[in-house]
Point group: C2
Chain length 360, copies 2
C-alpha cells in the first residue's frame, strides 16, 4: 500500500539521517535502501510526510530531516528493538558480575551503558525497600549525644547523630538498643517503619507522662526515658525513609557529549548543567514505567525545557517487582533508538538480576 511505503520512507529517512547527520534526499534514499520505486515517487511521498509534520527541510532545495513528531512515530511503530548480540550480552554479564558491592554495580552499569550507546548514561541508585533491617547499633558519643547506625541486609549502612534533651547512662543506652532491635531486626523497611511507630506508642502508653512532652519522667533502673526513645525512633524512621527510595543518581559518559556534532555548542552547556543537578536528573528519569517497558521521550516531550534537541530513553529496574528504580540514557534526538533501547533494556535486566542474587 501507499501508506506502508510512506512509512518505509520515513523509516529510511530517520535511519539515514541518524547515520549521516545530513539531510537526506530522494535519490540517496532509493539507492541506499531497496525501495523499488523512483526518486520522483519518493519525492511525492516526502511532500505528504512534510504536510503531516513528520519531516521538514532546513531550506528549500535541501534534503529532509525528521521532526520530533517523525521520531515519535518512528520509535512507536517502525522500530524493532533488536536484541543484543550474544557477545554483547556476555560482555555485559561478565562486566557487571565483577562488581563487589552495590556502589560498584551502579558504577559499572553507568559505564557499560555509556559505552554501549555512546551517549550520556544516568543510573539511579537501587531502591532498597525489599531489603530488611539487619541490625541497629546505638553508640553513646556523649551523655546527650547518640550515634545511631542502621545496617541493612543489602550491606548498606546509614548513620545519624541524635542530640538528646536529657542524659542517658550506658545501661539506658543498652536498653534502648535492645528495644529498637527487637522491634525492627529482620523486618522489611516498610514493616520496620510501622514497627517503630508501634514501639513509640507503647512507650508513650507505658510512660506516666506523654512521651512527646519535653520533660518525661524518669522511670528508673535501666528503662529508657520515653523522650529519648522518641528521638531515636524519629531519626530511625527518617533514615529508613531515605533508604527505601534512594534519590542519588550517577552519571557517566559525559565525554560522549564531545562528539555531539552539530547542535553541539547550543546543547552542551545546558546539558552539562543538567548533569550536575541531581534534581534535574531525577526529573529526567522521571516516572519509570513499572513494567519491563522502555520509555522514550523525544525533544520537547521531556520534563526539562532546557534540553531541547535531546531525547531520553529510560526504563525501570530493580530486584523484585515493587523495588523499582530507574536508569537510562540522554542523547540528541538524532540517535540510534533501536540500539539505545536495546542497551538500556539489557543493562536494566542484568542489573536487576545481579541485585536480586546478591539480595537473596
Amino acid at each position: 500500500m501507499v501508506e506502508e511505503r510512506r512509512l518505509a520512507v520515513l523509516r529510511a529517512i530517520v535511519e539515514d539521517y541518524v547515520a549521516t547527520e545530513e539531510p537526506v534526499g530522494s535519490k540517496a534514499l532509493v539507492e541506499r535502501h531497496g525501495l523499488g520505486v523512483s526518486p520522483a515517487t519518493v519525492r511525492n511521498d516526502m511532500a505528504v510526510l512534510e504536510e503531516e509534520g513528520l519531516i521538514h527541510q532546513p531550506h528549500t532545495s535541501a534534503g529532509r530531516i525528521p521532526t520530533d513528531k517523525g521520531y515519535r512515530l518512528f520509535v512507536d511503530r517502525l522500530t524493532t528493538v533488536r536484541p543484543m548480540s550474544t557477545a554483547e550480552k556476555r560482555a555485559i554479564a561478565t562486566f557487571l558480575e565483577g562488581a563487589v558491592d552495590v556502589d560498584d554495580v551502579v558504577r559499572r552499569s553507568v559505564r557499560m551503558l555509556a559505552q554501549l550507546t555512546h551517549q550520556v548514561a544516568v543510573v539511579q541508585y537501587p531502591t532498597l525497600s525489599a531489603s530488611t533491617v539487619r541490625h541497629v547499633e546505638v553508640v553513646a558519643l556523649a551523655p546527650r549525644r547518640l550515634l545511631v547506625v542502621l545496617i541493612l541486609s543489602s550491606g548498606r549502612v546509614e548513620q545519624r547523630i541524635v542530640e538528646l534533651a536529657h542524659d542517658l547512662d550506658d545501661e539506658q543506652v543498652a536498653t534502648l538498643r535492645t528495644q529498637v532491635n527487637q522491634a525492627v531486626v529482620g523486618e522489611r523497611l516498610v514493616a520496620a517503619t510501622t514497627a517503630l511507630a508501634a514501639l513509640r506508642e507503647d512507650a508513650a502508653a507505658d510512660a506516666p507522662t506523654d512521651a512527646r512532652t519535653d520533660a518525661p519522667t524518669d522511670v528508673g533502673d535501666g528503662s529508657v526515658r520515653g523522650g529519648s526513645l522518641d528521638e531515636v525512633v524519629t531519626v530511625l524512621v527518617d533514615a529508613l525513609a531515605v533508604h527505601s527510595s534512594d534519590q542519588r543518581v550517577v552519571v557517566g559518559g559525559a565525554a560522549n557529549l564531545a562528539r555531539a556534532g552539530e547542535g553541539f555548542d547550543t546543547m552542551l552547556r545546558p546539558m552539562l548543567e543538567a548533569l550536575e543537578e541531581q534534581v534535574v536528573l531525577l526529573k529526567l528519569l522521571g516516572e519509570a514505567t513499572t513494567g519491563g517497558a522502555v520509555t522514550v521521550r523525544i525533544g520537547a516531550e521531556g520534563p526539562v525545557e532546557e534540553l531541547v534537541g535531546t531525547s531520553v530513553v529510560t526504563t525501570g529496574y530493580g530486584a523484585g517487582p515493587e523495588a523499582l528504580s530507574a536508569l537510562g540514557i540522554v542523547g540528541p534526538t538524532r540517535m540510534d533508538y533501536a540500539g539505545s533501547m536495546a542497551a538500556v533494556r539489557a543493562v536494566a535486566r542484568y542489573m536487576s538480576r545481579i541485585l536480586d542474587e546478591s539480595n537473596g
Copy 2:
C-alpha cells in the same frame, strides 16, 4: 630598567590575552596599559621576549600570545595573589558553614570553587587520619559470614563483609567484638592499625597452632578461634587504610567547559574523559604542597599528557597539619591565575577551618 619594563610588557601581554582571548599587538598594549613608551619600543621588547621563548606569534603579522614558559614566569614573578574582597569572603564563609556533614562540606566547596573561578573544580575528600575509632560492630549474618562495621569519630562509617573458614556461634562473635573494640576504640587510625597488629600477634601466640594456618584448633568456651580473629583483623586494617586517606574525588562546574572558547573542541573530550577517571583526578591533584602554598602547573608540566593547553591550580587543605588533602581547579592555560589562586586558597582555608571546628 630595561629588564623591568620587559617583564611589565610580558605581564601586560598575559593580562590582555587572558581578558580578550586574542593575540595582543604593540599598539594596543601601550594604549591599554600606561607604559610610558612608544609602540616601537614595545616591539623591540617583544622581539626579545620571543627570543627567550616567553611569547610567540601564531602567524607573522599577528599579535603575540604567551607561551607556557611565559605563563610560568608570569605566575612565578609577576602575579600578586590579590586577596578576596570581604564580600566574597563572607559569601564563602556563610555558604560553607551551612553544610550539615562532611559530604556536604565537600559538595559545597566544589560548587563554590567552580563559581568563583568559572573553571572546573576538583576536591578530594578530607583525610581522616586525625579522627579516632569510635566503635566497631561485628554482626553475624550467617554462621560463616560476619558484617564488620567501623565507625569513626568523624561520623564516617565503613562496612565490610567477612567470609570465615569456620563457623562461629553468637558467643564467639561477642568475644570477638569485645576483643577488637578493646584494642582500637579511642585510637587514631594509625594507632588503631598497629593495635590490631599487636592483637593478631597475641592471638597467634596464645593459640596452640599458628594463627595463619587454615585449621586453627578450637580453644573452646567463647574464646575466638585464632583464624577468625585474623580474618576480621585483616579486613579492619584494610578498612582503616582506605579511610586514612580517602581517595574519592568530587568534581563540579563541568558546565564551565562550555565557554572554553577556542581550544575548545580539541580540549573538551580529553577533559571530560579525565573528569570521569578518579585515578586521573588524583594524579591531577597530585602532590599537594604541605605548606599553605598554592601550586600552579602549566600545560605540559602537568602529570596528564592528554591535557595539553590546560593548567592546574591546587593547594592542600585539612584539619590539622598532617591530615592533608587537596583541592583545586583545572582550566585553560589562558586563565586568570591571580583570581584562581586567590579563590583556591580562600576555599581551602575556610574548608580547613570548618573541618577543624566540626572535628574538635
